[in-house]
Amino acid sequence: MTIRRRLIPYWLLAPGALWLLVFFVIPMGFMAEQALQSGSLFTGGFHFTWQWSNFPDSLSGNNEQIVRSFYYAGTATVLALLISYPLAYAIAQQSGRWRLLLLFAVIAPFFTTYLIRTIAWKTILYDSGPVVGVFKTLHLIPQDGRLLATSTAVIAGLTYNFLPFMILPIYASIERLDMRLIEAAKDLYASSTQAFLRVTLPMTAPGIVAGVLLTFIPAFGDYVNATILGGTHQAMIGNKIQSLFLVERDYPEAAALSFLMMAVILVMVLVYLRLAGTEAFMGEEEEARA
């Protein structure tokens, strides 16, 4: 093998690496620098002083919002998974034209901007509207209850907004599933449940893992749903960071908090991948074929 041939994979990586450098590494550098500044906007601006105390300071008083972010993003991810798996399975079972139409239906809302879609939920869920009426009739909420400006509305908004990120990867992995393997399992006297648990689920695990990551991470940092659908006790950590940056103008603390949240997410992802098994990501299908 010549050296040039060995270099080819690296050349192929170059555009992606450049992208990461310009839009990830460099901004991260700026943010790291900002997280270690001290001072204030009105008294001479901020200066770099290795202010490590910004990190613990940024956490104090924000525990509630952090816990809430885990709770909201976690619940939304689980709900999205429960909705997406059967849906993706059903879509993958359809023949060509129906499949396309259903996939289009999944993506169609994305032709409208995120913000407008979220604001639309305000109109759907308003206090004297039909949805709240049905909930009251079914005694799911008390007679003087409401959906807007509650945790329920924020979690519903998160689930709705990130649902396609769950459906599409799961669909992709189910669609690749070789149905003959399920037939084979049944030939070997597996019940439907066993075939699902032993064959379908492990083979579609890569889609689930990808979907969970793609849903949980943006949901965790989201602040739009809490702003629009939440009330006074639904603020997530994203809202706190927004307030620190835009209203309190405490840039160092805001940068430090953003950094810590990123680190938390990164650690969680690594732990998750370890637990889920990296094979889940590579796809056992490939290994089985090899």
Binding site: S40, F42, K122, P218, H233, F245, R249, L266, F281
Partner: protein, 387 residues
């Protein structure tokens, strides 16, 4: 495939996935910011002259008469300018927070003129973010401005700000519902309206009204008064009494009937999609404010900004704006025009407030102390509203 290379491949995958996850997290969390700024006295004077080309103006929503015969369209026709009028201001501090890093580097984000409340205009000028105004280029403005507004305690001699519209902060109620019984700040906190009232995210509107309710002297709010009021708000927020803190969006919740009353601005009727609403001055006293047109540093086409200021100070143009927005107009000579055109507005006490309405009101105050001490108060208030 040997076992060894499979292991490395697995590892590589793991790191790629981790890097991708980190990238998503970074995009989610990264915001930007910068620092700096120096005093306003050395700020450059905005250049006048004959305006041509394009101009971008930022204002609050519903703050001008819209449509093909609206003021912006008329200004385009009269001046030959191409006007990009955007309504992207919903809260003073958030707007400033968004723009501050740009302004600090002498860039206005393409805007030639924007409208902020008097106290923020002063703060921005002190930071060197606003250009000074040349009165020779503002002839129509100074010919027509209400004499009482010729000078401003926050801007003596009108160095950097020209009034856009003024107003009062008080209580909007839905008169056909239980909110009709609300007349005072104290009433808003009655437990029977739990979860049915909203306050403003603007600290300088919400907190002073609460301080007045608690009996503090509006001419001299002390640090203790601010702290006591914020503590009270925290209690009321934690109990669920307050549904949300909002900018202009309180008008949506009133329209939908999600609430019975909200703190709000006297001229917002045009933003509320129902007739059975009424603005009331709280019995404990109200707030007044004047929003100001300013020219930011680095503004392109400042000649066009001057032209716009002069245009809206023509009484017949201002009459259209006053007729639509129903705020307090800063231009003299508008009332006689409206007497003919729209007598209801000419006799609307919220557009031409009589002294009896203004007497119990005081201007939006800043918290006492140094900028850093003020920032501390802001932080405490933010902690309440992002509970």
């Amino acid at each position: 495939m040997s076992n060894g290379s499979e292991r490395t491949l697995t590892n590589r995958w793991r790191w790629l996935v981790a890097a991708a996850a980190a990238a998503i997290a970074a995009v989610t969390f990264t915001a930007c910011g910068s620092s700096g700024g120096n005093g306003g006295s050395e700020a450059p004077v905005a250049k006048g002259g004959k305006p041509t080309g394009e101009v971008t103006i930022s204002n609050w929503p519903g703050y001008i008469d819209p449509g093909p015969n609206g003021t912006v369209a008329e200004f385009e026709k009269a001046s030959g300018l191409d006007v990009n009028y955007i309504e992207d201001i919903n809260d003073n501090l958030q707007f400033f927070g968004k723009l501050q890093p740009l302004l600090a580097s002498g860039n206005s984000g393409g805007r030639s003129l924007f409208v902020v409340t008097d106290w923020l205009a002063k703060q921005m000028f002190d930071l060197g973010y606003l250009e000074r105004l040349n009165h020779a280029d503002l002839k129509t403005v100074f010919d027509n401005i209400t004499p009482a507004l010729r000078d401003d305690p926050a801007d003596p001699g009108r160095q950097f700000s020209i009034p856009w519209q003024g107003g009062l902060t008080g209580i909007w109620v839905i008169t056909s519902g239980p909110g009709n019984e609300i007349h005072s700040m104290r009433d808003l906190f009655d437990p029977k309206y739990k979860g049915k009232v909203e306050l403003l995210t603007e600290m300088r509107d919400t907190v002073p009204l609460v301080m007045q309710m608690q009996g503090a002297d509006p001419k001299n709010f002390t640090k203790e008064d601010w702290e006591k009021a914020i503590e009270f708000l925290k209690k009321e927020t934690d109990s669920g009494q307050i549904r949300r803190y909002t900018g202009n969006e309180y008008t949506e919740d009133l329209t939908a009937g999600n609430i019975v009353a909200a703190l709000g601005w006297s001229g917002d009727r045009s933003l509320i999609g129902r007739k059975d609403v009424e603005w009331r001055s709280p019995t404990e006293g109200c707030d007044t404010f004047f929003d100001q047109m300013v020219i930011p540093v680095g503004a392109p086409n400042t000649a066009a900004a001057y032209a716009f200021m002069n245009f809206v100070y023509r009484p017949e143009v201002q009459a259209d704006i006053a007729d639509y927005v129903n705020y307090v107009t800063p231009v003299a000579g508008v009332k006689p025009i409206l007497e003919k055109k729209d007598p209801a507005v000419a006799h609307n006490p919220l557009v031409f407030p009589p002294p009896s309405l203004l007497a119990p009101c005081s201007a939006d105050p800043n918290p006492p102390g140094s900028p850093d001490e003020q920032q501390k108060v802001t932080e405490e208030f933010q902690n309440v509203i992002t509970g």
